[in-house]
């Protein structure tokens, strides 16, 4: 039993040290930004209700702020996170999508490191 626990701890420790601890937060921020961009794109086409649009924007922005706080000091994703947080709720979907794409690039780079 001790051996199994030791093996599990070694695996967990190995994975944490070999990969950026920021990866989960970056991945979640990238998706949240892409979700927010989709909502704004559909809202601009007049296909969403006001309640849905505002509710989703608020939730996405709150979660992005939460994930940004979880980033380590000097994280390569910090500038994109800050830029996302500076955007207004009804920002152009292209601007949000560009930042989501930037986060995706950082994520891919960290994953392959």
């Amino acid at each position: 039993m001790k051996a199994v626990i030791l093996l599990a701890l070694t695996l967990i420790g190995g994975c944490a040290s070999g990969r950026s601890a920021d990866l989960p937060a970056i991945g979640q921020m990238r998706s949240l930004a892409a979700e927010w961009a989709s909502v704004n794109r559909e809202a601009a086409r007049g296909r969403l209700t006001i309640a849905y649009t505002e509710g989703m924007r608020k939730a996405a922005r709150e979660q992005i702020a939460k994930q940004a706080q979880a980033l380590s000091k000097g994280s390569p994703a910090a500038p994109a996170a800050a830029a996302l947080q500076a955007l207004p709720a009804d920002a152009a979907p292209e601007r949000i999508a560009r930042l989501a794409a930037a986060l995706k690039q950082i994520e891919t780079k960290l994953e392959s490191a």
Partner: protein, 411 residues
């Protein structure tokens, strides 16, 4: 056969399959791994059909709901451990459903989510108090069928049907890194857990006793399990497939419970949006009722109290107080402001640990000649039952390490 007879299965399955956790996991599984996890849904669906049919048959023949069996077969100590673990698991799940329904109501009306959580709790408590059991299942089971909009939306986007069909074959996508493989395994375990949630069999078997099932109802039990769980699975696979088709190219791994709605809105516009929101609301509300009643059934059956919604609330006072208290407790958890997505993760994780202790006594009793006589498990039911039990034990053993290694499936 009256199609309305199937509503117990529809409520159990729609509430079990497309509850808030399934919305999250199916959509994330599709956007992350394309169609490669469809087979896990199909595989788990057969498992819940087998176990659900068994629990309904035991309820009809031996007149024993699942938690009675757990106490008698596992003994008092292990029975208490199972009761405590399933109580926590069901309570967290119920809180996740109440929180999920509150978010949907917030997205529908714009009113604050916390207020909507309180309204939602009041409505479900009132409906359980007022409606007879049959009408609870009919109301929430049938209204949950709005979820069919997700299957219609999938047809409208004309996905690559060949690739979807290929997803039914057991597979692991080639070329995954070690971390991606671990994530794939995590999603597999989470889907097995979410499809085989223990509350489904607690609710389904107790529902059979509420409806006074006897051996004559065994064909209905079988059809209900196949149609109900089959329908639930179809909806979950539709959500996964639409997510693979629509969300993956946009870099979305849905993090918000409301994002799945876009799967219906993108091909169907505002009508799709509203139907999807209503479908999720009723499915999640149904799941909240299911988890809460399942918990109250378990506690009452374990301690030998009077129980059941076929009785007036004051004829089973401890049972009535228990389900009301459980709803209020779930509401209190939501009102702390805890993230619903975190609740979902914990609910799935806790449930998988309870699965072996739930299904073992059921398997033992369903094969018992003394209790089940001519209706005991045949070779096929026994073989499938034990096979799925082994799968469940492996999933339970792997759940926590995979959760830790993948940061809860996030990376």
């Amino acid at each position: 056969m009256n199609p309305l007879e199937l509503t117990l299965g529809i409520l159990t399955a729609v509430g079990g399959f497309v509850d808030i956790s399934e919305l999250v996991f199916a959509a994330q599984a599709g956007s992350t791994f394309g169609y490669a996890l469809i087979w896990v849904f199909a595989f788990s669906t057969i498992g819940i059909m087998v176990m659900g049919e068994m629990s309904g048959r035991v309820a009809a023949v031996a007149k024993q709901p699942v938690f009675n069996l757990i106490r008698h077969r596992l003994g008092l100590k292990l029975g208490l451990v199972t009761l405590a673990a399933s109580f926590i698991s069901n309570l967290i799940t119920c809180a996740a459903e109440v929180g999920g329904a509150a978010i949907v109501l917030h997205l529908l009306t714009g009113a604050p989510a916390m207020l909507m959580a309180a309204v939602m709790t009041a409505v479900v408590i009132a409906s359980i108090w007022i409606l007879p059991f049959k009408w609870i299942e009919r109301t929430y089971g049938l209204l949950g069928l709005f979820m069919i909009v997700f299957a219609v939306a999938l047809v409208k986007i004309n996905p690559p049907w060949g690739a979807i069909a290929g997803g039914f074959l057991p597979q692991v996508p080639p070329g995954l890194s070690t971390q991606e493989l671990l994530r794939f395994a995590y999603f597999g375990v989470a889907i097995i857990s979410a499809v085989l949630f223990p509350y489904e069999v607690y609710f389904y078997s107790s529902g059979g006793i509420e409806e006074d099932w006897g051996p004559k109802d065994l064909p209905i039990n079988r059809v209900t399990c196949i149609v109900g769980f089959g329908l639930g699975s179809l909806l979950a696979i539709s959500i996964l497939s639409s997510s693979a088709q629509l969300f993956a190219p946009l870099n979305i791994d849905p993090q918000l419970p409301g994002s799945a709605v876009l799967e219906a809105e993108l091909p169907m516009g505002r009508l799709g949006l509203l139907l999807a929101l209503l479908g999720i609301l009723f499915a999640v509300a149904g799941a909240a009722i299911e988890t809460c009643l399942a918990n109250a059934y378990s506690v009452a059956q374990f301690f030998g109290w009077e129980w059941g919604r076929h009785k007036k609330p004051w004829e089973a006072p401890r049972f009535t107080l228990t389900w009301i208290a459980l709803f209020l407790l779930a509401l209190a958890i939501v009102l702390t402001g805890i993230d619903v997505m975190k609740l979902v993760e914990f609910a799935v994780l806790f449930s998988v640990l309870v699965l072996p202790l739930t299904y073992l006594p059921l398997l033992l009793l369903a094969s018992d000649r003394h209790f089940m006589q001519n209706h005991r498990n045949g070779v096929l039911a026994n073989g499938l039952g034990w096979f799925y039990f082994v799968v469940i034990v492996i999933a339970a053993a792997a759940a926590i390490p995979l959760f830790l290694l993948t940061s809860g499936g996030q990376g």
